[in-house]
């Protein structure tokens, strides 16, 4: 099954970063449309992303015809957020909720980036023969 290799760890961190970017993008879009009548808040479909990531062990998994065959392309679709109260203009974006989602995604990205940078540092250390 999955052995913990540098390649696998780097790929996993890359996926985490892609997922964080997708969440950040969706939260920024929701914030931009804070006052657009009829706009519905969206969120990244986590289960699809999870399925995709579980399929990573089988190479070239494709969940939609539009996807490229590369297993590293994280395919994060979006869906309407359910259970939010709708305002009178048909909009259900909540300012605080989106700002929290944005900061959380940003922190997740930072965490993955820090780990990835450490990984790269080790590789460079090996290339330089420990100097």
């Amino acid at each position: 099954m999955n052995t913990i290799t540098d390649g696998a760890i780097i790929a996993a961190l890359g996926r985490q970063m892609n997922h964080a970017v997708a969440r950040e993008t969706v939260a920024a879009s929701n914030l931009a449309n804070l006052d657009t009548p009829g706009y519905r808040a969206r969120e990244v479909t986590f289960s699809d992303t999870l399925d995709q990531e579980l399929e990573q062990s089988a190479p070239l998994a494709r969940t939609a015809a539009g996807h490229l065959g590369d297993a590293n392309v994280a395919a994060a679709g979006t869906t309407e957020t359910s259970g939010l109260p709708t305002r009178r203009d048909g909009n259900n974006v909540q300012l605080d909720r989106e700002l929290v989602a944005l900061s959380r995604a940003s922190s997740d990205f930072s965490a993955a980036q820090t780990a990835l940078a450490a990984k790269f540092r080790l590789v460079r250390y090996a290339i330089n023969e420990g100097r």
Binding site: R23, E24, T25, A28, S29, A32, T36, L99, L116
Partner: protein, 142 residues
Amino acid sequence: MSSLLGAFNASASALDAQRTRIEVAVSNIANADSTKGPDGQPYRRRDVVLGAQPQDTFDAALGRADAVGVQVQQIVEDQMPFRRRYEPSHPDADAQGFVALPNVDVPEEMVDMLGAARAYQANITAMGLIKDTISKALELGK
């Protein structure tokens, strides 16, 4: 990365839209008592119509998470009737001595302006966070 720049553009479009809302609210307040415009009629209250603007990018074509910006679709004139005040000495008064005043409600404009200012701030915050993420990503290349 392209996705992050899309998010950045979406926030920027929101800044544009909210600034327009503030500008319109300000001109409504400024003209709350203008009894005669260029067309000889009292000033009519203006209102901004916002619409979502999906961005036409590669990510969108693949059905992946992509940024949705916002756009000012049009600025419409409020067709509510004018306010009327009895002031026979006014040069714009009609035969009965009533002056037609703009259909602007100043407190309502203030509330709208505050909402737009808060939304503007929220989008500035969002842009800051996205910018942090982009520079964090660029640090990997160091």
